[in-house]
Amino acid sequence: MIAALIALAIIAVGTGAVSIPPLDVLQAVRGMGEEGVVSIVQNLRLPRVILAALIGAALGMSGGALQGTLRNGLAEPYLLGVSGGAAVGAVIAFGTGAISNGVIAISAFAGATAAVMLALLVARAAGSGGRGDPRTLLMAGVVIGAFANAVIMIALANAPPNTIRGALWWMMGSVADTSWPGVGWLAAYVILGGAALIYWAREIDILALGEESAAALGVDVESAARRIYLLSALLAAATVAAAGLIGFVGLIVPHIVRAAGIRHHRPLLLASALVGATLVTGADLVARTVRPPGELPLGAVTAILGVPFFLAQLRRIA
């Protein structure tokens, strides 16, 4: 899997409007070769491919952890208000005329975090006796997502055409505007957040057994669930800030991994990260090469590539 990901990454860096042979790619990464090629590889393709892989990894892990914790195969990072909150933040940034990617990323992240916190508070207030029922949490996330959608529609209803086009494009997900600082930020998040999730993977295993069993095994269910929930949501929020909404990955990738027979969450999270990274890297390669000179929305391509694969596995998943 790791080898497949690396091979795909090299192909992805070499393919595009200007085609670069694999050996030249490796040279250009080290800053050698023709100046134009080095610049395309180092400033355009490499950050883009790395960002796509990081996003896939983050969403895969986030989805795997949430599905285990909430014991619900339909759970996914975007269901918990992350996407809606982030989109509200981004649309507000677009509306104020911000064209800097940094501003949009920060306000998307702020929006996502606010929505997640709100979902947690609502679930907590609604939960009986302080114990957050996972279903309440899911409901709170879904409702906050619906509220966020309404806010977005109101904000966009009277926006100028370029704002609408920019906001829609952002909501469809794209890694076209990747910069090295953006890659650095997301890498830090994915490494720290991913490591923390993998560290607590045993707790997810226990939570996945059900609350009573978990409590019987001496796990503080509520605080463990909340910790993992928060980590997963922040991981997803970071990807949204970096590249907009890329749906489907967080939902499907953990299922594909489980279909391969992996049940324990430590290997499951690692494998989800790899599968997610491969899927998004491949999807971005398709998104930017299939219809030149334009690009397709990455979020749609991940689903179009992933769904047939998922369906082929469906019997084993069910």
Partner: protein, 291 residues
């Protein structure tokens, strides 16, 4: 007796004169709806920055009772009631200013608005002004409709003259290959469907995306690099972005400092200042050419 006959003769001559000027039996707008010819309108709503600018140039600015949020030229247009964004307009708000003529941009977004306004009995003309020829047609048509055909022709001719001057001045010069940066994320440029591509050609340039039929397609930055434009034209904000963004540093035009800042207030509308817009672009691409 004599004076009466003279008066009749003058009336007939006048009628004949307006007659020759009048539209053929059935003329339609860009939605295919018939254009009604009747008395000159006195309460005009224009929901397209280009036609608002044009109506002021036709000298009927005082008859304007509604405009879009973006119609800020000429300065006096700002005093006209703001009726929103111009696409999918609020029909009640439009009817609220009691117009006897509404000029819409003929995009699919406005199809229903045109129907509803016509159903409400308001003379409505929808014009798709995307090319320079569309502007000339609109100038003559609206001139006739507001009762001043001569002025409509004059506005059109004046723009045509300036454009011809610019074209003649740049004709023999080498064509500059240009990428026009409209928007950053997604990366939007202009192509054959836009008057801006015509402006580039008149100004002695060549749009690197002139083979695409759309007005404003989305393209990828890699494809722009592959086409390797000599010059990049952009608005002031976009230029700052391009000059500072490492992704653009691979473009020879950026390295050579050939990122040109266009006057967006001039080039942003296909209207009465099209000639000036062409001239300003020519000055950007071939400095000193018009001196």
């Amino acid at each position: 007796m004599f004076s009466r006959r003279a008066a009749v003769a003058i009336l007939i001559a006048f009628a004949a004169c307006t007659r020759s000027d009048a539209p053929p039996s059935r003329e339609s707008d860009d939605f295919g709806d018939a254009i009604a010819s009747g008395t000159a309108p006195v309460r005009i709503v224009s929901l397209n920055p280009a036609t608002t600018d044009l109506l002021f140039a036709l000298g009927v600015g005082q008859r304007m009772v509604g405009r879009t949020h973006w119609d800020l030229y000429p300065d006096s247009a700002k005093a006209v009631t703001d009726l929103g964004t111009g696409l999918r307009p609020n029909i009640e708000a439009v009817l609220g200013v009691k117009p006897d003529l509404v000029v819409l941009y003929a995009s699919q977004d406005n199809r229903n608005a045109a129907r509803q306004l016509r159903a409400a009995g308001v003379n409505t003309i929808s014009l798709k002004i995307d090319h320079i020829a569309d502007f000339h047609r609109a100038a003559r048509l609206l001139g006739r409709i507001v009762g001043d055909s001569a002025r409509g022709a004059a506005v059109s001719d004046s723009v045509a003259r300036t454009i011809e001057l610019v074209r003649a001045a740049t004709e023999k010069l080498p064509k500059r290959r240009v990428f026009w940066h409209i928007w950053d994320a997604p990366l939007i440029t202009i192509a054959a469907g836009s008057y801006m591509t015509e402006l580039i050609t008149i100004a002695g340039g060549e749009n690197i995306y002139s083979e695409m039929p759309e007005p404003s397609p989305t393209v990828s930055i890699e494809d722009v690099l592959k086409r390797n434009p000599e010059y990049i034209i952009s608005g002031p904000e976009g230029a700052i972005k391009i000059r500072s963004d490492p992704r653009w540093s691979a473009a020879p035009a950026v390295k050579a400092g050939r990122v040109l800042v266009a006057d967006t207030t001039l080039v942003g509308r296909p209207s009465v200042r099209l000639g000036e817009a062409a001239a300003s672009l020519a000055e950007l691409l071939h400095p000193g050419v018009l001196r």
